[in-house]
Amino acid sequence: MIEDSKLVVAGMEFGSRLLVGTGKYKDHEETRLAIEASGAEIVTVAIRRTNIGQNPDEPNLLDVISPDKYTILPNTAGCYTAKDAVRTCRLARELLDGHKLVKLEVLGDDKTLFPDIPETLIAAEELVKDGFDVMVYTSDDPLIARRLSEIGCVSVMPLAAPIGSGLGIRNPYNIITIIEEALVPIIVDAGVGTASDAAIAMELGCDGVLMNTAIAAAKHPILMASAMKKGIEAGREAFLAGRMPRKRFASASSPIEGTIF
């Protein structure tokens, strides 16, 4: 058995290569159980205004997903400018007592939720300069991925397909090119729909996969979380094992010699 290395992000080691979000669940209990079943160690959260008159007894997400147990990855979801993304990261750092790891995403359009690359590059530079460890959501463009790692992002996270679409890996060849040139861990972020999509991402050689809707929007989220864990592990092992070459024609599995006729 080949001993797999750990996923290393910003000098921290993780046994799980599945990263999960906490959005779209029915309640905190379902969130907690799904995340537990996924085996994920890095868990994303969003940063939002408190509501005036909010119930103070309402359970707190960070009590359910404790920063003592999980590595919290605050995101900049919903930000459409570099400025808003940087502000959100600074608020997250204050909220989490100086925690430096953030997921940067600057969106360009609410129909596709594709990243706004010029704004993403500006925000990434500013955040890296300000001491953040930046995991960055980006398109599957290898040149942009390279540029983001050169800026100093600790992980580059190309989309497999639009956020929440569940379409699976739409451009595996770009993902392979990004992986081949990678200076930092490459984590597919967004677009997987089911366990086989996660396995394919890992078979391509990704260092991990980040997902939310594929688990939360399944009919049985907790079961899907468990399926994703296995998909990630199976894909990783298949990658390490090295798949057989594809051939156009058959090759018999049983010997030709010694047949009775």
Binding site: G23, I47, R48, T50, I52, I72, N75, R87, E94
Partner: protein
Amino acid sequence: MQFVLNGESTEMSAGSTIQDVVNTMEVGTKRYAVECNEEIVPRSLHTKTAVQQGDQIEIVVAIGGG
């Protein structure tokens, strides 16, 4: 004194501090962070920072997201 809290115009007595504003929000035991005029106000300064007329204050918490 008028200021803007999470996008809404708010009135409090002059001399109120950031901590006084936080107390009106019923954040309970949640972790939160405060920004005033787009600058972070560190937790250690909440009781010492007076809110000024026209300040733009944001108080945020962590919620579910992907």
